[in-house]
C-alpha cells in the first residue's frame, strides 16, 4: 500500500505515452486521459500528504527513489500547478501537427520534477534535473518565435554548465565517501564539506535562478515560454531546485556556519536584485534590465514575473541559511529547523500560488490586448472587470501583506524577535519593491489609456480564467486562516508547528524523529 506513494510520477509518465497514442484518434479523448491522470495523481498524493503529516505514513522506497512527507508536499504543489496549467493549455495551445509533443513533454516534465524531489541519491536527483532541463527547453520553443529558440539555447547552455559543476561535485563526493547518498556527507571534514556545498549550491543555484548565474537564463527562457510552461518553470521548477538545495545542503547548513552564511548571502542578494530588476523592467523595460533575447527592447509583462522569481527564490535560500545562523546563535536545533525549513516550504507555496495566478491572468491579458509589451498594453479595466480585482491577490501576496498567504513569511522573517535587524530590513525592502512592481504592472495594464480600440470579436475561453481564480481563492483562504491564527482569533493548537516540524525533518532525513 505504501508503495502507492510513488504512483503520481509513474502515472504521469505512463499518461504521457498513452495520451500521445490516443491523441492521434481524438483530441477530446487525449485531454480526458491527461486530466484524469493529473486528477488521480493529485488524489493519491493528497492522501499520502495528509497521512504523512498525521504520522501514519513515514516513507516509501523503490530502488533509489524515496518518497516522504517533504517530497510529497512539494509534489503536491507541482501536481496542482501542473493540473491548472494543463487546463489552461487546452485553450491556450493551438492544435497543430506537433501539439502531441507539447502534451507529451509537459507530462514528462511534471513527472521529472516529482522525481527531482523523490530521492536522497545525488546522482538520481541530477539525472531528473537533466531530464527536466531537456523537456522544458523544448517546451520553451513552443512559443514558435525566433527569440524563443535563442532563449532555449541559453537555457540549455546554462543548464549544462550547471550540470557539469554538479557532476564535478558528485565525482568528488564519490571519491571521498564511495557513496552517492546525501547522508554520507555528514562524515566528511570541514574543508571537504565546504567545497562540496559550494559546488552543489552553484550547480543547483543556476537551476533555481539564484545569483550570480540565474539572471543569465531565467528572464529570457521564462518570458519566451508559453504561459503554462512559464508557470511551471517559475512556480514549480525553481522551487523544486530550491528544495533540492535544501535537501542536499540542509543537514550541513544547520551545523556549518560557512554553508549557512553562503546560503544567506546568496539569498539576500537574489532577493534585492530580483525585486529591483522587476521594478526597473515594469517602469523602464529591457533597455535597462538587459538579459533579453528578443529583436527589440520591450517592457515585458512576463519578464517582470521572471525577475520577480529570482527574488522569491532568494527568500527560500535566506530561510535555509537563517536556520544555520539561528542554530548557532542561541536558538534550539529543532526551533531553527522548523523556522528555516518550514518557513521555506510555506514560502514555496506562497510563491507557487501567487506567481501562477499572476501568470495565468497575464496570459488572458496578453490574449485580450494582443500585446506582451507593457508599452502597448492598457485599458483592460472595462474588458476584464473581475480580473482587475483578482489580479491584486497575487500582487499583495508577493508583497507579504496580512490577509494573504505571504503573511507567514512576514511573520517569520520580520516579526520574529530572533531575526537579525539587517535581514528584517532586506525583507521589508524586497517585499515593498515587489509590491510596487506588481502594482505598476496592474495599473499599466488595466487603467492606463491606449491609443487604439479593442477588437470586439476577441474573446478568451472560460477555461483560461479558471486556473487564476482557483489560485487566487486558495491564497485568500490560506491567507485568512494564517492571519487569524497569528492574531489569535483561531487556534491551530500544535498542529501547524507539528506539521512544519515533520516537513522540515523529512527534507533532510528519510523519516521524521530519526
Amino acid at each position: 500500500m505504501t508503495s502507492l506513494a510513488l504512483a503520481p510520477m509513474m502515472v504521469l509518465t505512463a499518461s504521457a505515452v498513452v495520451s500521445t497514442i490516443v491523441g492521434n484518434r481524438s483530441i477530446r479523448l487525449r485531454n480526458a486521459v491527461i486530466s484524469c491522470s493529473f486528477a488521480s495523481a493529485i488524489l493519491v498524493n493528497t492522501y499520502f500528504f495528509i497521512t504523512s503529516l498525521g504520522g501514519a505514513f513515514d516513507y516509501a522506497k523503490l530502488g533509489e527513489l524515496t518518497v516522504n512527507a517533504a517530497s510529497i508536499c512539494i509534489s503536491e504543489l507541482v501536481l496542482i500547478l501542473g493540473f491548472l496549467g494543463v487546463i489552461y493549455s487546452y485553450s491556450y495551445i493551438e492544435e497543430r501537427a506537433e501539439t502531441w509533443a507539447y502534451y507529451l513533454l509537459y507530462q514528462l516534465f511534471t513527472a521529472m520534477m516529482i522525481g527531482m524531489v523523490s530521492s536522497f541519491n545525488i546522482l538520481v536527483i541530477y539525472t531528473f534535473l537533466e531530464v527536466s532541463s531537456v523537456t522544458s527547453a523544448v517546451l520553451v520553443m513552443f512559443s514558435r518565435r525566433r527569440s524563443s529558440i535563442l532563449a532555449a539555447y541559453r537555457y540549455l547552455a546554462l543548464s549544462i554548465f550547471g550540470g557539469v559543476i554538479i557532476i564535478g561535485g558528485i565525482f568528488y563526493q564519490y571519491q571521498l565517501t564511495h557513496a552517492l547518498n546525501l547522508a554520507d556527507l555528514s562524515g566528511l571534514g570541514q574543508a571537504e564539506v565546504n567545497i562540496l556545498s559550494t559546488l552543489y549550491l552553484l550547480g543547483f543555484g543556476i537551476k533555481a535562478g539564484l545569483l550570480p548565474f540565474g539572471p543569465l537564463w531565467l528572464p529570457p527562457a521564462h518570458s519566451e515560454a508559453p504561459i503554462p510552461i512559464h508557470t511551471l518553470l517559475s512556480a514549480a521548477l525553481v522551487q523544486v531546485a530550491a528544495f533540492d538545495i535544501a535537501r542536499i545542503l540542509g543537514s550541513t547548513a544547520i551545523t556549518n556556519n560557512y554553508v549557512a552564511s553562503l546560503l544567506l548571502t546568496v539569498g539576500l542578494a537574489s532577493m534585492l536584485a530580483g525585486s529591483s530588476y522587476a521594478l526597473v523592467e515594469a517602469w523602464f523595460g529591457s533597455k535597462y534590465t538587459r538579459f533579453h533575447v528578443g529583436p527589440r527592447d520591450i517592457r515585458g509583462i512576463k519578464r517582470v514575473w521572471a525577475f520577480s522569481t529570482i527574488s522569491e527564490v532568494g527568500y527560500i535560500s535566506t530561510f535555509l541559511g537563517l536556520a544555520g545562523i539561528l542554530a548557532s546563535h542561541g536558538f534550539g536545533y529543532e526551533e531553527a529547523l522548523v523556522l528555516g525549513f518550514g518557513g521555506a516550504m510555506l514560502h514555496m507555496y506562497n510563491h507557487g500560488l501567487a506567481k501562477s495566478q499572476l501568470l495565468f491572468d497575464s496570459g488572458v491579458m496578453i490574449k485580450m490586448g494582443l500585446a506582451e509589451d507593457l508599452n502597448l498594453m492598457g485599458g483592460l479595466s472595462s474588458r476584464l472587470s473581475s480580473m482587475k480585482i483578482s489580479f491584486t491577490v497575487g500582487a499583495l501576496s508577493l508583497g507579504l501583506l496580512p490577509g494573504t498567504f505571504g503573511v507567514m513569511t512576514l511573520r517569520e522573517l520580520v516579526f520574529n524577535s530572533g531575526i537579525p535587524g539587517l535581514i528584517r530590513m532586506v525583507v521589508i525592502a524586497t517585499a515593498g519593491i515587489s509590491l510596487v512592481a506588481c502594482l505598476s504592472v496592474w495599473f499599466r495594464a488595466f487603467f492606463s489609456k491606449v491609443e487604439h480600440d479593442f477588437d470586439d470579436h476577441l474573446s478568451v475561453p472560460r477555461s483560461m480564467y479558471l486556473p487564476g481564480l482557483l489560485a487566487a481563492g486558495a491564497m485568500i483562504v490560506f491567507g485568512a486562516y494564517f492571519t487569524l491564527e497569528w492574531v489569535g482569533f483561531v487556534s491551530s493548537g500544535s498542529g501547524l508547528t507539528s506539521a512544519l516540524r515533520i516537513l522540515a525533518e523529512t527534507t533532510i532525513k528519510t523519516k521524521a524523529g530519526l
Binding site: 523544448v138 518565435r145 532555449a152 477588437d455
Partner: protein, 116 residues
C-alpha cells in the same frame, strides 16, 4: 514515425529510457549508465538547438550565390535560411512579433484574429 519527427523521437527515447532506468536501478553502475544516457540526450538537444539559434537574422543570398541561382525556381532564400524550430519541425510564427512591435501593432484586428 516520419523522418521529420525522428530527432525529437530519438531524444525522447533516450530521455525516457534514462529516467525510467534510474527509477529501477539497483547498483551505482546502473545509476551511472542511466545518468549518462540522459546527459547524452541533453547534449544532443543542446547541439540541435544551438545551430538554428545562432544563425544570422538576415542573409544576403545574392552575396553568396553568383549568377542569379539564389532565385526561384533554382532555390528560395526562405528554404535555405529558415530551418524552422529545432526538434518541433514547425515554422516560426511571425504573428507573435506583433505582440512586441509598436509599428506593427494591430494593423487590422480581424486579420490578427484570423492568423491566431
Amino acid at each position: 514515425m516520419s523522418t521529420r519527427r525522428f530527432p525529437l523521437g530519438f531524444a525522447l527515447t533516450l530521455l525516457t529510457g534514462g529516467s525510467v532506468g534510474i527509477a529501477i536501478a539497483r547498483t551505482p553502475v546502473e545509476v551511472f549508465l542511466c545518468a549518462e544516457l540522459v546527459t547524452i540526450s541533453a547534449f544532443y538537444i543542446f547541439f540541435t538547438v544551438i545551430i538554428p539559434a545562432l544563425r544570422p537574422l538576415t542573409v544576403d543570398t545574392e552575396g553568396i550565390f553568383l549568377g542569379g541561382v539564389a532565385k526561384s525556381p533554382y532555390v528560395s532564400p526562405s528554404e535555405l535560411f529558415s530551418p524552422g524550430i529545432p526538434l518541433i519541425s514547425e515554422d516560426l510564427d511571425k504573428t507573435w512579433e506583433l505582440y512586441y512591435d509598436r509599428n506593427k501593432f494591430r494593423p487590422k484586428p480581424r486579420e490578427v484574429s484570423k492568423k491566431r
